[in-house]
Amino acid sequence: MDIKIKVEKLSVSFGKNKVLKDIDVDVYRHMITGFMGPAGSGKSTLISILNRMIDFEDNVTIEGKVVINGIDIINGNTNSVELRRQIGTVFAVPIPLPRSVYENIAYGPKLKGIRDKEEIYAIVKESLKKAFLWDEMKDRLSISALKLSGGQQQRLCLARTLALMPEIILLDEPCSGLDPISTAKIEDALSELKKEYTIILVSNNTKQIARITDYSAFFYMGDLIEYGPTEKVFTYPSEKKTEDYISGKFG
């Protein structure tokens, strides 16, 4: 198994508040890795480190290393714009741009400098297919993305990140507002996508983590409590806290 992302002794503080404490975790290629834990455990912060969206926050102290493709993205002179081409993010609430479906997906490729209309169309089609949205949208590419249902919008957001052809996809509670059918569609898409991409899924829904992830990391109040293959973590967890969380004693 190849390590795609190596997090070493990562600590993050907002002011005096330490949100991530000394995290060590290896994320493997072509796997779906789940980050689970109750609210406030630091999962989303870790995501924002990976995609460098944390740059937009004030008063942040970061210690440690995060190595992706051999480069430390925290301490090196990483170009965050290019980093975000390699790491795509889907957020909890679907946020379509106020444009057509087509323009939403074409946004990323156009930023990269792709001008050829046919090339862009091919990318849009490919991305929608991978997000299991092509059949529903192929005749309606020019309608406003705001008219889509919640589930469709979220798949649109997934297609949008795929259009940049990243290597890593981060999903932060992507199904939190969606009905079971839409959720299932996204989970199916992810299971297909992991063959080509490295996927990190943040979720507070332990059942979802158990369903589709290969590896699971349990975070609690800024600490990484346990990390291992999903099957093992869920059937015989090493830590009592993990067991309590999975069985629903708190969350």
């Binding site: 714009v81 081409r85 990269k112």
Partner: protein, 287 residues
């Protein structure tokens, strides 16, 4: 193929910074210039002599603008007397009583009313209001009364739109609670909505005052421009703004400085009014 153009980003940031600095420069230019030109005379003649002086004869060394300060306040209060009750009623009607159709009709109407130039108001005032006052009330018609009427109408849009905003931002739950206790619509409006919107409504009055006290063209045309403090609403008067407008073209030397001093006084009054209004509105937001 990936492109990230950091030089372009830096360029844009520099340009925007220059724009912001230029704006700052222009904004403060006018402030500083007026103060710069207006303050020396206070020094030379004395603050008291100017602000509390009764005689304005700048070519002879008299720079008393007290009558004009009083006149400015008088027209402003007059405008409020005319405009506030009407404006507030309209705002209440718009927010609480009118249907969608009325709203769609009234809002653009108000904007149009606000857009009519002050010279047009002044003109209509001279042609219709001044003779009306002269025939029904006496005097020459060029009076505090005429000015108050015209200014009152001119500040209506300001009062209506700001009061409207204040009233509509009162939470629905307040009204619903009142209805649930059996109150009629008017009782709800009178006892619950208006008191809650109080500071916004007051702010609208103060901003209306600010507009009235700064109005020049309409006032020149209907107020008569006498240099004395008016003793009745039918007397003519000259405001601070009229003073500047009437004499600017031919004033020189100390006379000109005197006009700047008038400007400084006007500036201070308006800034105080603005500050009170903003402070009042912020207080509402913080509540």
């Amino acid at each position: 193929m990936t492109k990230t153009n950091f030089t372009k980003e830096h360029f844009v940031k520099s340009v925007l910074t220059i724009f912001a600095l230029s704006s700052l420069l222009f904004l403060f230019l006018i402030f500083i210039f007026i103060l710069f030109e207006g303050l020396p005379l206070f020094h030379k003649i004395g603050l008291k002599n100017i602000i509390l002086g009764f005689k304005w004869a700048p070519t002879k060394g008299s720079f008393g603008i007290f009558p004009m300060i009083v006149s400015s306040f008088l027209v402003t209060f007059g405008a409020l007397v005319v405009g506030a009750p009407m404006g507030l009623s309209c705002a209440i009607y718009l927010s609480e009583y009118s249907g969608k159709k009325m709203k769609m009709f009234l809002k653009p109407a108000l904007e149009l009313l606000a857009g009519i130039p002050s010279v047009v108001y002044g003109f209509l005032g001279v042609v219709y209001i001044v003779p009306f006052v002269r025939n029904y009330f006496g005097g020459s018609g060029f009076s505090l009364l005429s000015a108050s009427i015209i200014l009152g109408v001119m500040i209506l849009p300001t009062i209506i739109s700001i009061s409207f905003d204040a009233i509509t931002s009162v939470p629905r739950t307040y009204r619903e609670g009142s209805f649930a206790m059996g109150a009629t619509k008017w009782q709800t409006v009178y006892k619950v909505v208006i008191p809650s919107a109080k500071s916004g409504i007051l702010a609208s009055f103060i901003l209306g005052m600010g507009r009235a006290i700064g109005e020049t063209m309409a006032v020149i045309m209907v107020a008569g421009n006498a240099l004395k403090i008016p003793t009745s609403i039918l007397d003519p008067l000259r405001t601070l703004t009229s003073n500047i407008a009437l004499e600017l073209a031919y004033a020189t030397g100390d006379h000109r400085l005197g006009l700047f001093s008038t400007g400084v006084v006007l500036l201070v009054i308006i800034m105080i009014l603005n500050y009170i209004a903003n402070f009042g509105m912020k207080k509402k937001v913080m509540k």
